[in-house]
Point group: C4
Amino acid sequence: MINLSHELAANVITPRNRDSFKGTYGHVLIVGGNANLGGAVIMNAQAAVQSGAGLVTVATDLTNKTAIHARLPEVMVVDYQSDLTQTIKKADVVLVGSGLGEEIGVLNQVLAHIQPKQTLIIDGSALTMMAEQNLSLPNAKVVLTPHQMEWQRFGEVTIADQAREDANWEALINFKTEPILVLKSSATQVYLKDDMYQLTVGGPYQATGGMGDTLAGMVAGFAAQFQPLGPAVLAAVYCHSAIAEDLSKAAYVTLPSTIAAAIPAYMQRLAQESISKDPVDTKQEE
Amino acid sequence: MINLSHELAANVITPRNRDSFKGTYGHVLIVGGNANLGGAVIMNAQAAVQSGAGLVTVATDLTNKTAIHARLPEVMVVDYQSDLTQTIKKADVVLVGSGLGEEIGVLNQVLAHIQPKQTLIIDGSALTMMAEQNLSLPNAKVVLTPHQMEWQRFGEVTIADQAREDANWEALINFKTEPILVLKSSATQVYLKDDMYQLTVGGPYQATGGMGDTLAGMVAGFAAQFQPLGPAVLAAVYCHSAIAEDLSKAAYVTLPSTIAAAIPAYMQRLAQESISKDPVDTKQEE
Amino acid sequence: MINLSHELAANVITPRNRDSFKGTYGHVLIVGGNANLGGAVIMNAQAAVQSGAGLVTVATDLTNKTAIHARLPEVMVVDYQSDLTQTIKKADVVLVGSGLGEEIGVLNQVLAHIQPKQTLIIDGSALTMMAEQNLSLPNAKVVLTPHQMEWQRFGEVTIADQAREDANWEALINFKTEPILVLKSSATQVYLKDDMYQLTVGGPYQATGGMGDTLAGMVAGFAAQFQPLGPAVLAAVYCHSAIAEDLSKAAYVTLPSTIAAAIPAYMQRLAQESISKDPVDTKQEE
Amino acid sequence: MINLSHELAANVITPRNRDSFKGTYGHVLIVGGNANLGGAVIMNAQAAVQSGAGLVTVATDLTNKTAIHARLPEVMVVDYQSDLTQTIKKADVVLVGSGLGEEIGVLNQVLAHIQPKQTLIIDGSALTMMAEQNLSLPNAKVVLTPHQMEWQRFGEVTIADQAREDANWEALINFKTEPILVLKSSATQVYLKDDMYQLTVGGPYQATGGMGDTLAGMVAGFAAQFQPLGPAVLAAVYCHSAIAEDLSKAAYVTLPSTIAAAIPAYMQRLAQESISKDPVDTKQEE
């Protein structure tokens, strides 16, 4: 077990290369938000945009378009019933499942068209549907972001057994494509390659609806701009709760949209630490 | 008569247990907002979310969906014409009536499906319709939040008589299920068990449309996360006006949405007081 | 000529009476916003709400509903094609014309149903339509808020002649109902009873679209809560530009929505001045 | 090559004339935003409004109306399918192309109705469509705002060749109407008359979707209020990145909407510098 530390995140979030452009930071496609649950993709998208993804597109039920643009003009919106396949092709990172409800047709399209070089983050109701329909993980760089109940369904590890690290490893070995597991709970863990990383920041002020949607959006935004994938996921998980912990000094509950708004300032603090600690690297980047 | 004091609220709003999750803090269902009065449920929902309810769903006229999500992505939205019955089942607390207008069919569904273990807050036009239709209180943990005119209609106590505490008690005794009464006026009172609690904070800067919708949302949010119900209601009523009083130092009128935005910071101040006063409790919670 | 002074506004904006409620501060009905110009009524309504009107209803093209509620949940929205007549009855102050375009049918309904005891503020395209159709002022307490081109059309005073105070008085005498004239320009004037009040605050940072819509909304909000009407109008005109002048220290252009957001703090500063200057009055109000 | 300097921008952004009105600062028409890409015109419009344009109208797919008004009540919205021709006539500056997708019919209407005295800013997909359809620049004061790929398509200069100043000049000479070229990259350049201006502020925190839409909106807003056109474009390009550089001290990524919100304060700082440096000018303006 390794503690998910500040240093680990600071090593990922380094100053950007001067000669970069938005293409450098990847294109995130968010697939979710049925007619009732459009708020979930708004929270995904806000987190991805504020994290610094180069481009963010949301494929959703079209009745969600206006609310998305009213909050996030930076985001493109397409109808997940008609325009999904061609949109998947353009993405570097696909996040599927937040607020998707029972839209199995949409999920199946994502699973059918995702490519091996793409990162696929599977969240929320996508995990529930995959468990119910016995769907396999596709051939892609997969990140799973279940809460405990979803992991019980999809990973077939009871919530009681999830307390044992080896039980979770056993479930993960069954998947051929070596997914990264972000197992969300009041003590979130990340299972990556051969190591389990334990989150030690954050707290119960995060126990509110939509918190996971913001985390999934941050994972997508970090995966789009930082390579390799593993440390990017760890940094996203750390930053999400570290920001909440900061905010909790003045907030009984730290709302998802408040956390998302605080991402750029927090990331810049980490990036500046990496400058002051490591002047050689900085010169290389300039 | 007991003054609704700061200490009383601070005893309710204690630090959260570290091992909690969003389910710990309850699911609030808000039922209201006809085609013209959607703003009322936005104010309900913002207050419930900012208060720290675990989950918040709004059942409303569907034309209100986009405005709700544009302000509050944390909230789920369902059509109160088609999806109400199944949604009531999942709720811990139901708030009905803000901006409901004359949608008697919607109200009847709530009254028919509410369960004894659930908390039901009855506000605004729901009280007027119940008076007009002579509807009985259902078997549930009921909180009534009328202003003076609504209490005259529903409780059948004239506004003049409402100045006499015993007149209000007499009306309450007629209800079999012992509802809690929050009687809103420029000197709001709460009738709970055998005691009347007098609000002594707040002021005329709160005399603006929507103030009651925010209060009802706070009552719902507090009822969802703090037990037992009585002190939770008292704390919500106190905090609502105490926040307004704070804001009024720099505002001639304190708008409902401004009060709601200030809830998390105010609650955290109260929670921190309870830590500094009572270190033993804090340890138990960790 | 009298300078529109700080003292004049401070005498109007006094601390609220403790035993007041939202009905004390009046019901403003805003009628305007055709299918393209919905932003105008949003700015009207934000200004009226932030000014402290007790209740604000917007009667508009229904396609504007969602944008209004997304910004202002405190406001009620009705369809000006179907629900206008019954809504006018409930209002204390009616503001008609901002963004109304050529909706002459809507204007005619307002003119036909307004009552003598109600205040009617006539703005923007309502003035142009009344000039084109030779419509008379109705029997009500009327405030006209034209810019120079609108006053040329409706008052039949050329822009050149508007520089002469007596030319404007001559035009006003032709109206039987003694309207108050707010003649907007880079040096706005108010014609009230026998005096002309000259605005001396404000500046060219206000020269941007929507500025007049915010002013009209403030006039409505002040008229709803402060009596008599004349000083209320003067105070609204003064505060609108005084706020802009304050903001201009840090803004090259002072946008209408930014001015509106600053109203409650500015009014509270004026109200506190009136306390410190006049302790006797304060006691009376408590 | 001339460095795009702070002084150059400060000379453009001088204090406004006291006797001005909104007509003095021009009418910007933004044409763009298809059914999926409405966010682009929101960012255009926010930048134009915050820059101080007198009036801003957006001609767009009507499904974008509500999101635009929910963010920007100051803006008028028309349907670009039905109301474009008559709207072009009223504009001083037309910005076409942000988020326009493949709406060639809309683009053709703009090219057909633009007048020689009007400024036309051609952005994004308009440039791509003009390249694909071999469309000529119309007779107007044209500003082109391509990124490198768009300039390769429209100017027929390969991205590699764009590094050579003379290659860009050769392409520009082919256009009869002497357009101003804003060639966006990590080191943006402006080609104006006989000089190339090199941007030296800004950085990779700007590498995010929508950055160009905000720049195009600022160019439009500056062109509407500052004459002549050339220095206005230079000032807009400078301010856009200078604001981003300021914000980047506390933000890893500087979002387009955050930059737009900071425009009025930044412009006012420049205007105040021009006062302190040049008291003679200031007196003339008063």
